[in-house]
């Protein structure tokens, strides 16, 4: 036995390492004397190579598809089938899910996030094929929270470095409008409310195009605009019977959820149509309001390009001029425009209203808060800090005592045990 060990009994150097059960022993091969006994116990570091390896650190994870991933892939397939997507979409979505799973952040994520990831992969696939699927639909199908969905979606787009095109508005109009249950008479839908699908679709598309051109769509959720446009299109196709129907009732009849901003979009769209109507001589004399203008939507849409150009002036040139003047003057001009509107009650000849600004609604409303212009700071960062300035933030000893007493009193009152 190398190492220079000698048996204490016979002096032999022939020492052999022998394991008696689990205990290693150094035994003299000549006389059988046990020279040293190994420790029965081993330290944590000794057993480094014998310890169990967690699954996440083993190589098994990358060698086989984990059960969690298999479940996720099954969910992707199910979702694609529920949405009746073409089979090529399924393969792409599966590929994205597998790609996402390569990243440790996704592998170790909560089940809720993995569930939402299923929706994200399907959504990205649909967007890349211009299939109009909204995030709202996916969240509803997965019973997922929109906040979790948005976080996971932004993360996965960044992680996989994907280019996701925007939602195609025209396609969304077609699919969304087709979901309205107004094309056949039923117990809940009287005959006068039933409409031809193609007519309604084409008119809705024109209205949405108009909304897009007049800054009602940029920066806003697309769906409420389409809801408002569909409602106006439907009303205008048979105004005599349908003007009495409200937006809320319309959505209920059509068995579609009414998105909250749709009412506001409707008002904005009607305002745009009214401005366009002011440019047509034969409509000027009719003194239209937001209800009566619906009857003329057909005509207005037919000439929409020309009317928009006539009714509105480019907002850019206008705002640049105004910024050179005071705020007050802008207010004055707006009041001026309102005066011109009210002058339509007494038509002074055929002069149309002065062109309004074609700007997003957020730029037309007066600012809620005027941003304070801070004076230019001359702070260098190295100024002297006076003691008195710092002391104003410190409690005097008396104040400290009072504060402690008050704290003790409040703790005592909140933790008073119930009397036996």
């Amino acid at each position: 036995m190398p190492g220079g060990g000698r048996c204490p009994d016979c002096g032999s150097t022939e020492l052999v390492e022998d394991s008696h059960y689990s205990q290693s022993q150094l035994v003299c091969s000549d006389c059988g004397c046990v020279v040293t006994e190994g420790v029965l116990t081993t330290t944590f570091t000794d057993e480094g190579n014998l310890r169990e390896v967690t699954y996440s650190r083993s190589t098994g994870e990358s060698e086989q598809v984990s059960r969690s991933q298999q479940r996720g892939l099954r969910r992707v397939r199910d979702l694609c089938r529920v949405l009746q997507l073409p089979s090529t979409f399924e393969d792409t979505a599966i590929a994205y899910y597998q790609q996402a799973y390569q990243h440790s952040g996704i592998r170790a994520a909560r089940l809720q996030k993995k569930e939402v990831l299923v929706g994200c992969c399907v959504l990205i696939t649909c967007r890349q094929h211009n299939w109009p699927l909204t995030m709202g639909t996916i969240c509803a199908l997965l019973y997922a929270d929109m906040d979790v969905f948005s976080g996971t979606y932004m993360q996965i787009v960044k992680l996989l470095g994907l280019d996701v095109p925007s939602l195609c508005l025209a396609d969304l109009v077609k699919t969304y409008c087709s979901s309205f249950k107004l094309f056949q008479a039923s117990p809940s839908v009287p005959a006068k409310y039933v409409e031809d699908k193609d007519k309604m679709l084409s008119r809705t598309l024109q209205l949405v195009e108009l909304a897009n051109e007049t800054w009602l769509v940029t920066g806003r959720h697309p769906l409420p605009v389409i809801t408002a446009a569909t409602f106006l299109a439907w009303q205008s196709l048979q105004p005599s019977d349908r003007l009495t129907c409200s937006l809320a009732r319309f959505c209920k009849l059509a068995n579609v959820d009414l998105p909250y901003p749709a009412a506001s979009r409707l008002q904005e769209l009607l305002a745009i149509l009214l401005r366009m109507a002011e440019q047509l001589a034969w409509l000027q004399v009719l003194k239209l309001d937001k209800r009566s203008v619906v009857k003329h939507i057909g005509d207005l849409l037919q000439h929409r390009h020309m009317l928009v150009r006539m009714a509105f002036q480019d907002g850019t040139a206008e705002t640049e001029d105004q910024e050179k003047e005071q705020q007050g003057q802008r207010q004055e001009q707006r009041h001026g425009e309102e005066e011109v509107d009210s002058s339509l009650d007494l038509p002074k000849g055929k002069r149309p209203a002065s062109p309004a600004l074609l700007l997003p609604p957020c730029m037309l409303k007066p600012p809620k808060r005027i941003r304070p212009i801070l004076p230019i700071s001359t702070v260098t960062g190295d100024e002297n800090i006076s003691d008195s300035e710092i002391e104003q933030y410190l409690r005097t000893p008396q104040e400290v005592r009072d504060f402690e007493r008050a704290q003790a009193a409040s703790h005592a009152s909140t933790s008073v045990p119930n009397p036996p």
Partner: protein
Amino acid sequence: MTPMTPLSECSGIVPQIQNIVSTVNLACRLDLKKIALHAKNAEYNPKRFAAVIMRIREPRTTALIFSSGKMVCTGAKSEEQSRLAARKYARVVQKLGFPARFLDFKIQNMVGSCDVRFSIRLEGLVLTHQQFSSYEPELFPGLIYRMVKPRIVLLIFVSGKVVLTGKF
């Protein structure tokens, strides 16, 4: 690469700084309970957050002071103001009896805003600058533009208001 604007075409619009986040190391362990007891402008809820939240009036800022001695200072409108504010917080901690120093002061993040004064077609911008833009109107009304050089993230809104933020 982001298409660069030649210097001759610069608009002259200067963003206004809205917030600066800086950190400094006070290099001593702190007793947060003692700080919360002796300082009037401090709040400390250990169950909610493991740091003292302290505020000073001039420059109007907020500081998060951790027991390790590290401090985060937010709310200043310029780098110099941020440094002055951080020094004032350090002085407060010193006056409370701790051997606070002022090591490794570093500006971590700056946020600015400006107005380009014209409306912006975000859907057009996302088409022409696809690799840098992210515009999801279903989630957020603004377009997120990640500029490569300089490394700045811009939030661009339809009204022409722009928020710029950059980490160092």
